[in-house]
């Protein structure tokens, strides 16, 4: 079973033309299986989360009732990107599974919206937010090891609470960054092959058949990967223990109680007056 569909070019060269479409179902099933396994694990096997806490009364007192987490601009970006991503998945894969409609124009327009929003996000996150807050640091890795040891019954100190983003969130961001940039980079070139009403001049000869084929394959692989990633993202978004995070992406803030329960004020300072621990970077409070 080949995961790439091959063809013979007019010059007798064997070239890839796109991914095998059964991968759509493979990734959808993979996403579904992940959700089932995770739900079973959390519901039956997982121990209650425990964190090391040593907040001083002064720090606790400085935390407001509503902890600002995402600015309006950051939330607007997230939802614009989410809408464009759903539009992209719907227009890309429904026709492939038998629901036929005029999809190409909607697809590349949604792709342009995604591209613009991601470029904006890179700029915004680089210059107006704490760029490093979404990348794993040494404490994340140390705590991940501690959590793993404790989950299998081994002795380990309790992990610290999270900074602004839990480690899983950071890993997810990294993977979706790769797949998102993958579909964008290849998709922009693929727009050279369709009628974009003058936005890009068609040039089917821009690359050779092999390069074009690889581009379609990469676009497809990143695309089907996004099926599972988006399924998992939506799943976590509606899980009860994650709802405060989801709500913060709607309303911009989370409750003081949730913040103190899951987040370390010294790793994610919401008050500029909070003294950062040595080795910890103060996070943005966007």
């Amino acid at each position: 079973m080949d995961f790439i569909t091959w063809a013979t070019s007019p010059w007798g060269q064997t070239v890839p033309i796109h991914i095998a479409w059964y991968l759509i179902w493979v990734m959808a099933i993979a996403g579904l299986l992940f959700m089932i396994v995770h739900a079973l694990y959390v519901g039956i096997f997982a121990a209650k989360k425990t964190f090391a806490k040593n907040d001083s009364p002064a720090v606790v007192a400085s935390v407001p009732e509503r902890v600002p987490r995402h600015s309006f601009v950051a939330r607007a970006f997230h939802w614009v990107m989410a809408l464009s991503m759903f539009a992209l998945l719907i227009t890309a894969f429904l026709p492939k599974v038998g629901i036929k409609f005029d999809w190409v124009t909607y697809h590349w327009i949604a792709g342009l919206v995604l591209t613009a929003s991601v470029l904006f996000h890179i700029f915004h996150a680089s210059f107006f937010l704490d760029f490093w807050s979404i990348w794993p640091d040494k404490i994340d890795l140390r705590d991940a090891r501690r959590r793993l040891l404790r989950s299998i019954g081994k002795e380990a100190p309790p992990p610290d609470r999270f900074a602004k983003y839990p480690l899983e969130n950071k890993f997810y961001h990294f993977v979706i960054l790769l797949s998102g940039l993958g579909v964008i980079a290849t998709g922009v070139y693929m727009m050279k092959r369709v009628n974009t009403f003058g936005i890009l001049t068609r040039n089917p000869y821009l690359f050779g058949d092999m390069t074009w084929g690889m581009m379609y394959v990469l676009h497809g692989l990143a695309g089907v990967g996004l099926i599972a990633l988006i399924m998992v993202h939506v799943y976590f978004g509606v899980r009860p223990e994650k709802l405060p995070i989801t709500k913060s992406m709607i309303f911009g803030y989370m409750s003081r109680d949730f913040y103190l329960e899951e987040h370390d004020p010294q790793r994610w300072a919401v008050e500029k007056t909070s003294p950062p621990k040595e080795g910890y970077a103060p996070s943005d409070a966007d």
């Binding site: 007019p10 033309i17 036929k100 005029d102 009628n195 074009w212």
Partner: protein, 338 residues
Amino acid sequence: MAVIRDVMPAFDLLQPSSAADAQKLLQQHGEEAWAMAGGLDSFDWLKDRIKKPKVLVDLSGVDELKGIRSTSDGLEIGAMTTLTEIANHPEIKAKYSVLSNAVELVASPQIRNQGTLGGNVSQDARCWYYRAGWPCYRAGGNICYADTPVGRNREHAIFGADRCVAVHPSDSAPALIVLDAKFVIQTPKGERTLDAEDYFLGPDIDITRLNILQPGDLLTAIRIPSTWAGAKFYFEKVRDRNVWDFPLMNVASAMVLNGGNIDRCRIAVSAVAPKPMRLKAVEDAVNGKPADATTGEMAGKLAVQGAVPLQFNAYKIPLMRNLVKRAIGGVEEATWTS
């Protein structure tokens, strides 16, 4: 992509004797089955070894799919009725001459003796890049070889192209559209009847098919309602070789006149777009106006609005303008302009 002409790949030949059996066989074998009517399109694909079905369902032994029957509201033509029979049928010639004129211009007498109405409306695109087995969009690939700077696209679309620029090659299709024909399809879920213009698909919806037939579907009949019986019809086909060729373009129209004015009208063209194109804007514009050269001139200009020619087919724009002009104003009234 070696082309081995005249030596077909092996397949199981199934020869049902009823439409129900034929549909069941098509359903049973799904995408591995190939429904063959007259065989004129099918044998090209098979002998060129470009299409390699595992099962071929030969419909020639299904008598219930053949013949022309009168109904309470017009005619029902079996999908396996030959084009010759339709061209010579007295009632069609008397009341629906646009159809007999159209099928009489299909290919050659020998082909019309073998070719069927169902096959003619369901035939595949004639783009030579596609027919040669190149991995173009229509063949499941990621390029249109005809729509490249040096692609040979003289016969291709000026309307409705969406990645693929092949045109629908049927002569009977525009005639059936102007007659408001209904296509009867047996599907795994039962019988389905739809308007002629809804039978055809453009590449925007499905780039690998020209019609809505899914694996397991069987076109059984085409019903012609009496709505347009006895109307003033026009059919004209332009082709490179008048003895035998696919259309560079064709036009069909049906008009009901009232005191020289157009009371109602339908007009359709083929070989200009990936599916036969009904010109609704033209119909709306000419209704109530006299069927003369002036109206024809206006209709012709309106018809070509929005046309996007390719490298080598800009000639299709004046061709279409003139054909529509003649279809509305008549050959005597309309002068040919470039």
